[in-house]
Symmetry: C2
Subunit: 331 residues, 2 copies
Amino acid sequence: MGKRVTILDVAAEAGVSRQTVTRAMNDMADISVSTRQRVLDAADRLGYRPSRFARNLVTRQKTNALGLVVSSFRNPYYTDIAADMLSGAAERGWQLLLAASDGDEGSDALNKLSAQVDVVVGHFQAPEADLGEACRGLPVVNLEFVSTVPGFHSVHVDLESGILEAVGALRERGAHRFGMVDAGYSRRTFGAYEPTPRREWFERAVGDQLTGVVVADEDNISGGGQAFAELLRRHPDTDAVLMFNDLMALGAVRSAHALGVDVPGSVRIVGVDGLSLGEAVDPQLTTISIDREGIASNTLDIAEILAKADFARIEPIHRTVRTQLLWRASA
Amino acid sequence: MGKRVTILDVAAEAGVSRQTVTRAMNDMADISVSTRQRVLDAADRLGYRPSRFARNLVTRQKTNALGLVVSSFRNPYYTDIAADMLSGAAERGWQLLLAASDGDEGSDALNKLSAQVDVVVGHFQAPEADLGEACRGLPVVNLEFVSTVPGFHSVHVDLESGILEAVGALRERGAHRFGMVDAGYSRRTFGAYEPTPRREWFERAVGDQLTGVVVADEDNISGGGQAFAELLRRHPDTDAVLMFNDLMALGAVRSAHALGVDVPGSVRIVGVDGLSLGEAVDPQLTTISIDREGIASNTLDIAEILAKADFARIEPIHRTVRTQLLWRASA
DNA sequence: TCACGGGCCGTGAAGGTTCACGGTAGAGAC
DNA sequence: GTCTCTACCGTGAACCTTCACGGCCCGTGA
């Protein structure tokens, strides 16, 4: 209801011209004190607020905006990335818009987001076609998978070698019966569970020394704890477990404590992510640390390259971030 | 360098009119397949991308945007609020923009943010005048303090009674020598340390049973741990400690473990926030839980009221959120 | 032959603001 | 009395896209 109140309405109300209203609103020169006050009063009376679109259109602000889409903001891993992205974006004069893909209306949110930003970055599992549809041809930086389609850039984490390294270190310490707790989020996207790449890399790394894999119901602390307990119940001889991520690994540590299982004495636990929270528990969590800051800075680099190229369709840019084995106490 | 490439450039390149370009770009009817392809090619060649400002200006999208300013995205408390805010915003069709105030260029970031949003919400310590300056008359929802200036709304947490309740519960369990670890973030804003309201409320609640207060250097786990250790060193007889927030309380639990201090046997530890992380440590953290979801929904309520009122200067709206004592194992 | 309709495309206007420039009035200088 | 200067204010244009509408051409049916 109600048309928008424009600068012309204010001008009429105050008995002046558009330009004078502009001068009053933006604290410019060439206006008398009394007139400014009169205009300001009129604006206040009418509830006038300049249209940010019209203003940005004419001032041609070079503030670019970046849309960040993550699956969940309950996981410190993603919020860490967001935090790094945010501080980097502020330095470079970029704006950060947020959207979560764990909600029901993921696609709709993406549609609205894409109308407001210059680049879309995030962890996407959807195929490029759907994504391109939703983003209307905007450049996309994928933080999960590498794609070769033009307009789809990526920052990729080399977890495969990280997992290999971790398994090697576990073997050095005598572990030889490996288990894993995998995430089941693929169910949401594909309808049925599909093994994550992490699981495939892990299974390849441990070979025939695998005792079993349990898929967690929920991607959080308690989900990880339950799955860990289930894994030990099914395969009591397991002596080393890779948890899909640190959040679940935290649950595993807690679960082990509740079950009276010695960590790392009888079972070694390794997480993935490198959250600082891992230091808060006892024993402190051993983890395959992902360089989240590197992800953020690489992403912003790509965004800036795209901005320099006027967001034209340029060759896909791919960056890789390495992992680091953070050997703490739980393994 | 380089002017922006507009729809007219594409039209010229393809030998058609603006409208035809629009039809091609937006998958509209009334255009032949060959023409569409020709236009798309031309757009691709020139690197054309529609101006989101011009588009939003004319389509008059009713997608309002909310700018969230928090002090740090390293603290789960704030990211929880952001998460709740985000899911609520998605439901209501709002857009969420982020800015952090812990960086150096806080004011500049706020300036740029305010050019893109309809409402600014956040934890502000700056006086209203500066804030109004930076926000250019945008409505502000303060999540920390209550203000009576028009245009400044608030969602306020009634921590005072929460602290009173917690102290009472501690007394019931025999505690009578109270200590506290306060946050020193006020140093950054005001130049020197100023006691936080939490400290004042706590001191009022414990009266002459106060052993001492230590101000933490950093608002994080290790900062809390250090301050806690320092508190015990100075006042070894302390039997109950209120930590400024849960993050610091996590550090206190860890620190106590390292010092060989029994929790809650010899010292009871209480945090503030109600983070789910508190369940991950042993003993699980007792805490004064803040209803972050309530904060988010109340904030969005206010934002919607403002949007309905066309963001006119209406009477300040104030909401209050109560706390809940979450008695777990550390106290 | 004419009327009609559908497929394809172009023109004027609108959307709300700011920029660049031009104009007026009054004060002071000569 | 004329000129200049300053303080204040208004008008046309620009920013870039979409909407509403109108025009053209060709095929079909009567």
